[in-house]
Amino acid sequence: MPTEFTPFLSLIGGGLIGLSAVIMMAANGRIAGISGIVSRLLPPSIDRAGLPQGLSFLAGLLLAAPVYFMATGNPPSQTVSDNLLLLGVAGILVGFGSVLGSGCTSGHGVCGISRFSRRSIVATLTFMATAFITVFLLRHVFGG
């Protein structure tokens, strides 16, 4: 299904994500990587000392949708599968893959690239390339 190209809103939203990463680095000395923060809330890599800030980052992230709704009167637009089992399996795969790759689009993609980290640049290029291939295979080779 096509989605509308939103260059201006996407640039602004990206800027807010950047601001979030800068605050996290300046005030907490941490990388605003979603997969890293979430994985350190749970065993086996639980970070007890960082638990309060990890939990409050996650709370802020989840509060964004109701805050957006209260401010604009519109729910965030989303098109997702109605197959809950499929969503659950997809979520597990995302978590597994990003921990295996030591980071996701936020940690490697935004924070890592901004620090010119070679490791993060390689990681981002790799997961973007495999994502392009996956979508190509699922949508154009095996039908969709």
Binding site: M1, S10, V22, F57, G60, L63, A65, G109, S114, F136
Partner: protein
């Protein structure tokens, strides 16, 4: 203090995702579908985020 800044950071991150359209998996999938219903928005999100983060991290490091 660190709890409050983390809350603010998470909130800004989430609002950024929603405003940029990246809270919508369909938009992300369409970025990855070059030969189909391609939507280049994700590149603009990445551009905006890296621009702000790069200058911000530079300022943070300079102060440290």
């Amino acid at each position: 203090m660190k709890t409050l800044s983390a809350l603010l950071s998470g909130l800004l991150f989430g609002l950024g995702l929603i405003i940029s359209g990246m809270a919508n998996p369909a938009k992300v999938q369409n970025f990855l579908d070059l030969l189909g219903t391609w939507d280049p928005s994700l590149a603009f999100v990445m551009g905006g985020a890296v621009l702000v983060t790069d200058s911000g991290f530079w300022l943070v490091e300079k102060q440290a």
